[in-house]
């Protein structure tokens, strides 16, 4: 396995808050890396820093030998690193089809071709029947799925997924897990997944990265991380 993404001393500060402290780790090509940590640990901040939504104050993010830091978000996206947002972000007053078509404009010069590609993508995610519905008229689970479909249409090599399962019921979570693993295996997309649903995350992740107060406290196989004393302490707290 080779590293597809390598973070080197990524630091993020918001005023007095040191949100990411010297974060360095490697993501291996083809893996699903789960990202865990208590609220405020810096998980979403980390994702925002990688794609440049909120660039870090220092550090490097190496992707295929190129530093992503300092590049505009749409450049990072076209290089092959995409992200979905913690709060579902779809274009509400736009059809489901066009929501995805926007993202395939980069690969298809003609709008007609972009829509065809989008239609194809919707079938993979089970949303084809809603193609002509406005995104504001579908359910929350469908909108989460739609945002993923939009990101995957970009044909990224690495996809950062920020809490796509929040608010989904058990059945919907299982469907989502199946789709994520097949996107990873069949379409060869390396996944970084932030998730509070531990059961779901442990099931699909090859490795788990644990963050606490902006620091990496563990990076290992799921069963090892879940028994790591520092991780347990971060989640449950320890009596003096």
């Amino acid at each position: 396995m080779t590293a597809i993404l390598r973070l080197e001393s990524v630091d993020q500060r918001f005023g007095g808050l040191h949100a990411l402290k010297n974060v360095s780790f490697e993501v291996e090509e083809g893996e699903i890396l789960g990202v865990i940590g208590p609220n405020g640990a810096g998980k979403s901040t980390l994702f925002d820093a990688i794609v440049g939504v909120v660039p870090p104050v220092s550090g490097h993010v190496w992707f295929r030998g190129e530093d992503l830091i300092g590049q505009k978000v749409h450049h990072v996206v076209s290089r092959g690193v995409a992200k979905t947002s913690q709060t579902v972000q779809v274009f509400t007053e736009m059809t489901v089809l066009d929501n995805v078509a926007v993202a395939s404009l980069g690969k298809h010069k003609r709008l007609h071709d972009a829509r065809d590609a989008a239609r194809h993508e919707l079938e993979f995610w089970g949303l084809a029947a809603h193609a002509n519905t406005q995104a504001q008229d579908i359910t929350l689970a469908q909108r989460s799925t739609l945002e993923l479909a939009r990101a995957v249409t970009l044909e990224p090599a690495v996809l950062l997924i920020d809490e796509v399962m929040a608010g989904l019921n058990e059945v919907e979570v299982d469907t989502m897990l199946n789709r994520l693993t097949s996107a990873n295996a069949e379409r060869n997309i390396t996944l970084l997944v932030i998730e509070h649903n531990m059961r779901a995350l442990m099931k699909i992740s090859h490795r788990i990265l644990a963050l606490d107060y902006g620091e990496v406290i563990a990076l290992d196989r799921p069963e090892t991380v879940s028994t790591d004393p520092r991780v347990v302490e971060a989640y449950l707290g320890v009596a003096e």
Binding site: F91, V102, G106, L111, N132, D137
Partner: protein, 351 residues
């Protein structure tokens, strides 16, 4: 589409992407036909002139809407392009005795260059700051026009000499020919606006309007898309300004770079509906005659009342129907065509 509905939500029959736009197109064709026949029926020259103003400002507002409406980048500086187009005509015709037809491309060229220069700093701003930034630039042009007397004759303004009447000089004996030219401009602007709306640029601008951050994450180059919209819109507004100068046969900095023009371009679009290519034209068609009528019927001490009523009416409209008449029609359309999913509607996802 052969996939059957797998969820409980009944789907409205799939239709071509432009299907529901056909009625708008038919209505527009009827309106344009009426416009061209109007001079035959309107005996009052004043009415023809109002209709001409509707066409000129309607076209300019349609142009404004490409950036201000489609992408929701509300510019209050678009009178800059209007003024440049207008000044091109009077400077060419008064100083060099050159036809307005030669001035128009020159005005367009300058407007595009100015658009490129304006876009770079102002697109770094968002929301209200963008509006204020563009408004500030308008003031700059106003000051320059006042001070650069060698070119604009300053605040005294430029009156066009009376030349041989005809299409070449855009001076006519009656009001009808200029109405036709203005109507032609309006139709061309509408065609351009409609083309943009359903192009890939239109989709990108729609994404920017609805959620700029999601748009960048979807790979849209915000700066590039906004700049394209700015330049197309600059061309249209500049041409409208040129025709306006020919209508007035006079121009001073107050008229050319009026903040009132900027406000009106935005207003017509907002009242008519910014999501639609025809919205701004509809807004101009309603508001310009209304404003003229109010200022005619309420004179003397009541003149202030006319302004007040006009303002109150607009405030009321924005409060009741913030998406304009186009938005109202959308709502009605949706009520008839979309059946909501059976489960309760999930909470809004917009941040």
């Amino acid at each position: 589409m052969s996939v059957s509905a797998e969820q409980g939500a009944p789907e409205r029959p799939s239709k071509p992407a432009r299907g529901d736009k056909v009625p708008a197109l038919v209505l527009m064709a009827v309106a344009v036909l009426a416009l061209f026949l109007a001079p035959l029926y309107l005996t009052n020259e004043y009415h023809v002139r109002i209709l001409t103003l509707v066409c000129i400002f309607g076209a300019a507002s349609v142009g404004w809407n490409l950036l201000g409406g489609y992408a929701n980048q509300v510019s209050l500086g678009h009178a800059v392009f209007f003024g440049i187009g207008a000044y091109a005509v009077v400077i060419f015709q008064e100083k060099y005795e050159l036809s307005p037809w030669l001035a128009m491309p020159a005005g367009v060229l300058v407007s595009v260059l100015v658009g490129l220069v304006i876009g770079w700093p102002t697109f770094q701003l968002s929301g209200h700051y963008f509006a204020l930034g563009t408004l500030a630039l308008l003031q700059v042009f106003h000051i320059v026009a006042n001070s650069w007397e060698g070119l604009t004759e300053g605040s005294a303004g430029i009156s066009l000499p009376i030349l041989e009447s005809g299409i070449w000089n855009l001076q006519f004996d009656g009001p009808a020919p200029l109405l036709y030219i203005s109507a032609g401009l309006l139709v061309a602007s509408l065609a351009a606006a409609r083309w943009v709306r359903y192009s890939r640029l239109g989709l990108e601008l729609d994404a920017i309007r609805l959620n700029p951050q999601a748009a960048t994450l979807a790979g849209v180059d915000l700066f590039r898309a906004k700049m394209k919209a700015m330049l197309i819109s600059a061309v249209i507004v500049s041409l409208a300004g040129s025709v306006y100068a020919s209508l007035l046969q006079f121009l001073d900095p107050e008229t050319a770079f009026a903040w009132n023009t900027s406000i009106n371009l935005a207003l017509f679009a907002i009242v008519g509906g910014i999501r639609h290519w025809w919205g701004p034209a509809l807004g101009a068609l309603l508001l310009i005659p209304l404003a003229e009528w109010a200022s005619l019927t309420l004179t003397g001490n009541l003149a202030a009342l006319a302004q007040l009523m006009y303002g109150a009416l607009l405030v009321l409209l924005i409060l009741v129907q913030p998406r304009g008449i186009g938005g109202l029609l959308d709502k009605v359309w949706r009520r008839f065509t979309v059946s909501k999913p059976t489960e309760s509607k999930p909470t809004a996802s917009t941040p």
